[in-house]
């Protein structure tokens, strides 16, 4: 959709993400920056049925097609093989061989054989081994000293990353905004070429994801440690997670932009009852809602077990979202005999989501506190969705969520890692308490709206190097209307 720009655009921000279905946070940030006069171009992952170029709101989205860069794959593979061979040679040289610790013919040292002849043969092999090691030592020294400084100028990017780099260079950004670790190396390479500020936006602590193998986790942490220093500002989703990351990497310039919701089309004053309209059997029931990605790490099986222990018949647990784990939960509910009180609801589109959230009576955040760092210190999207929808919250003792819920009286905190405690928390829900929570949500919920967070984002941008140059900060207003 074409728009009349009432002023010349300030600066160009190129955002980088591997997302195919673009995260709401990215679009919110893009929209905020566009509203402040920046031109925002988002380089995102490509999908089969998705257009290469589209404009979402005011964000220009260019999907980088990895396949296009794989045309030269055989050549690139050959290049990578050569590079790796050279890389192996370029490893720091080993300490000069010590006879006492030597191995011969790739085997560990054996007791000296008896007899002069045998000793002579052993000595010859030992001299040969030392000779080879010395040769390797000298070669490595030469490569390390001479060739490596030359080759270090070649960055180690994958083909897809090269695609992002190439497109990023084409757009000549004034600011690079990287979303999550997979794009950080590209962002750093772009910064090195264009000498522009780099914003590193951590939607979570990427190397601490529970599904990663320990080896991959270590590798990603090394990668993050290597590149994060190049970022002019690092952004996290909450202060607790930021403290952990800041301590880990000794970050200096960082800030928080929470995952708040921007939903101008949603009217929180209106009464919504969409679940009961869609499922008439829910009339007169108290609806406990979980929404979002349905996965094992969400502690939902505990919620189903707890429902089996709840004696109240007016409670219904709604699990609304997407994910293959839904099937497992359905089978579990069947095995526990609670299919009448546990209902799996298909995911809703983003523009309808809040109206469904507002149709429930309690929003549930059951994530376990005994899992990984990201889960423990989570500030999940659903927290902000529930607040926006003015839905009282029942949450596990997740430090950040607990602080929000208790400080502002938005709901109840309980130990949801224990099935009896979980069942007790569900049993204890009182309707009068819920209406008090709703009042507090109506009064103080604005503190967790996107309108608050966008101010933080713009403040971080204004503090970037070069942003206070004369003429750069103020949009040129149009005299003629």
């Amino acid at each position: 959709m074409n728009r009349v720009h009432p002023y010349a655009l300030r600066r160009r921000v190129v955002m980088l993400t591997t997302d195919v279905m673009i995260d709401r946070r990215i679009l919110h940030e893009g929209e905020t920056l566009a509203g402040a006069g920046y031109e925002v171009i988002l380089l995102a992952g490509s999908g089969a049925a998705l257009p290469t170029h589209e404009i979402l709101g005011r964000v220009k989205v260019h999907r980088v097609d990895g396949a296009a860069y794989l045309r030269f794959a055989p050549l690139a593979r050959f290049g990578i093989r050569i590079r790796d061979r050279v890389g192996r040679l370029m490893r720091p040289p080993p300490a000069f061989p010590d006879a006492r610790a030597s191995t011969v013919g790739g085997q560990s040292r054996k007791p000296l054989p008896l007899g002069r002849q045998a000793n002579r043969a052993f000595e010859a092999r030992l001299v040969l081994a030392w000779g080879l090691r010395a040769l390797r030592y000298v070669t490595a020294k030469v490569f390390h000293g001479c060739v490596r400084p030359l080759l270090s100028r070649v960055d180690r990017l994958s083909l897809l990353e090269r695609g992002y780099l190439s497109e990023g260079l084409f757009y000549r950004p004034d600011i690079i905004h990287v979303h999550d670790l997979p794009m950080l190396a590209v962002g750093v390479a772009l910064k090195a070429r264009l000498h522009v500020p780099l914003v590193y936006d951590m939607h979570e602590s990427y190397p601490d994801q529970p599904r990663l193998t320990p080896r991959l986790r270590r590798r990603l942490r090394r990668l993050e440690r290597k590149h994060i220093g190049a970022a002019d500002v690092a952004i996290s989703v909450n202060d607790l997670l930021l403290e952990v990351i800041r301590a880990r990497y000794q970050l200096k310039r960082c800030g928080v932009v929470q995952n708040a919701v921007r939903a101008p089309q949603f009217d929180p004053e209106r009464r919504y009852d969409r679940f009961r309209a869609d499922y008439p059997q829910l009339q007169g029931k108290l609806l406990i809602l979980f929404q979002g990605y349905i996965a094992p790490e969400r502690n939902l099986e505990m919620a189903v077990h707890a429902m089996a222990r709840v004696r109240r018949t007016d409670l219904v647990l709604l699990i609304m979202g997407y994910g293959e784990y839904a099937q497992t939960l359905e089978e579990l509910a069947d095995a526990q005999g609670v299919t009448d009180r546990v209902l799996l609801v298909p995911a809703k589109p983003q523009d309808e989501l809040l109206s469904y959230s507002a149709s429930a009576d309690v929003g549930l955040i059951p994530y376990s506190t005994r899992r990984d760092l990201n889960t423990r210190l989570a500030s999940p999207n659903k927290l902000y969705e529930f607040i926006k929808a003015r839905l009282p919250i029942l949450t596990n003792r997740l430090p950040f969520v607990e602080r929000v819920v208790t400080q502002w009286g938005f709901g109840t905190v309980a130990d949801l890692d224990d099935v009896d405690s979980f069942a007790g928390a569900l049993e204890g829900i009182e309707r009068w308490q819920l209406s008090a929570c709703r009042e507090r949500l109506a009064r103080d919920g604005w503190r967790f709206a996107w309108e608050q967070e966008e101010a933080h984002l713009l403040k971080l941008y204004e503090a970037l190097p070069g942003q206070s140059e004369p003429g750069a900060a103020v949009p040129v207003t149009l005299a003629r209307q």
């Binding site: 959709m1 074409n2 728009r3 009349v4 720009h5 009432p6 002023y7 010349a8 655009l9 300030r10 600066r11 160009r12 031109e39 290469t52 170029h53 404009i55 220009k60 260019h62 084409f170 757009y171 000549r172 040129v476 149009l478 003629r480 209307q481």
Partner: protein
């Protein structure tokens, strides 16, 4: 345009030929064309021997966008001239960030020539004189010279001799012929016309796309008003042809660019924000279109006729 200029230069006694190395859907005439890589290579070798002056358009040379032959040609002592017409040289980022109304702000995916920087560097290094066809491009190439678009007056005159097309006096026909809708600001025109139609103005929009150049010019004649580009800030080939045909034309002329023209073009100035008002003024008769109809052909003949343009080119070649 190259074909028209080459023909005019031949008429002035110079052995000038035009060469198009890729198909153009407007079917602009060219003396030579090439359809395969081997043919392009063979022609490049032949032309390098045959000609003394090379006048390259759109940041491309005999070997296309690679510009690999420019340096060898220069080394052979050939005179090289570059002629830029828009997205082949326009710095979209500078445009977007400097001007409140610009084609580049709306252009996505970006249509800039991928070899723009390379072409600019080649032009600065090897171009004896570099021409631009519209004044908005002057800022992107130091020492560039404005060489306005050449209108094919042979075609215009031939079409003007044909019987006039039938017109419905109750309808007000606006013609618009975008090569690219985003750059020309077509959406603003569509919106403005839709709003006027909703207000029961007897306005009709004739969008001409994907036609050969000769067919398109024939259709332009039937219009009461033409709308050229609304975002670029200077007028294009379409407006030049419309002026030659005597059809009053709207285009967005950026105030700082008007002084680059030898004389003020007889156009109605409108940008996306003022377009609807300007159209309404034309429909209601508040804007007198008569003087524009009369002034257009003489202006086009003075500024866009191939003969003076060819003469200027030859002077540059000889310098």
């Amino acid at each position: 345009m190259a074909g028209v200029l080459a023909r005019a230069q031949r008429a002035l006694g110079v052995d000038a030929r035009s060469y198009c190395d890729q198909a153009n859907h407007f079917q602009y005439p060219a003396d030579y064309t090439a359809s395969s890589t081997s043919e392009r290579l063979a022609k490049a070798l032949r032309f390098a021997r045959q000609f003394d002056v090379f006048h390259f358009y759109f940041g491309r040379s005999l070997l296309g966008a690679s510009l690999l032959d420019v340096r060898p040609l220069a080394l052979l002592g050939k005179k090289i001239f570059f002629h830029f017409c828009g997205c082949d040289i326009r710095d979209e980022k500078a445009t977007t960030h400097t001007y409140s109304v610009s084609a580049c702000a709306n252009c996505f995916p970006k249509l800039c020539s991928p070899n723009r920087d390379q072409a600019r560097a080649a032009a600065e290094r090897f171009g004896r004189v570099n021409f631009v066809s519209t004044p908005d491009l002057l800022e992107f190439l130091p020492r560039a010279v404005l060489m306005p678009q050449a209108v094919d007056f042979e075609l215009v005159e031939r079409i003007m001799r044909e019987p006039a097309p039938r017109r419905d006096p109750r309808r007000f026909v606006i013609v618009h012929a975008p090569t690219n809708r985003q750059i020309k600001g077509t959406q603003y025109l569509l919106d403005a016309v839709a709003r006027l139609q909703a207000l029961h103005y007897p306005v009709e929009l004739s969008l001409i796309e994907n036609r050969s150049h000769a067919d398109a010019v024939r259709l332009y004649r039937a219009a009461d008003l033409a709308v050229d580009q609304l975002l670029v800030g200077s007028y294009g080939q379409f407006a030049a042809e419309m002026m030659a045909l005597g059809v009053p034309t709207i285009a967005y002329l950026r105030p700082d660019l008007v002084s680059h023209y030898a004389e003020e073009p007889p156009l109605i100035n409108a940008d996306p924000m003022t377009l609807e008002t300007v159209l309404r003024n034309c429909l209601e008769g508040r804007q007198d279109l008569g003087p524009l109809k009369a002034a257009g052909p003489s202006f086009a003949r003075r500024v866009h006729h191939p003969e003076p343009l060819a003469r200027r080119c030859l002077e540059a070649y000889a310098a």
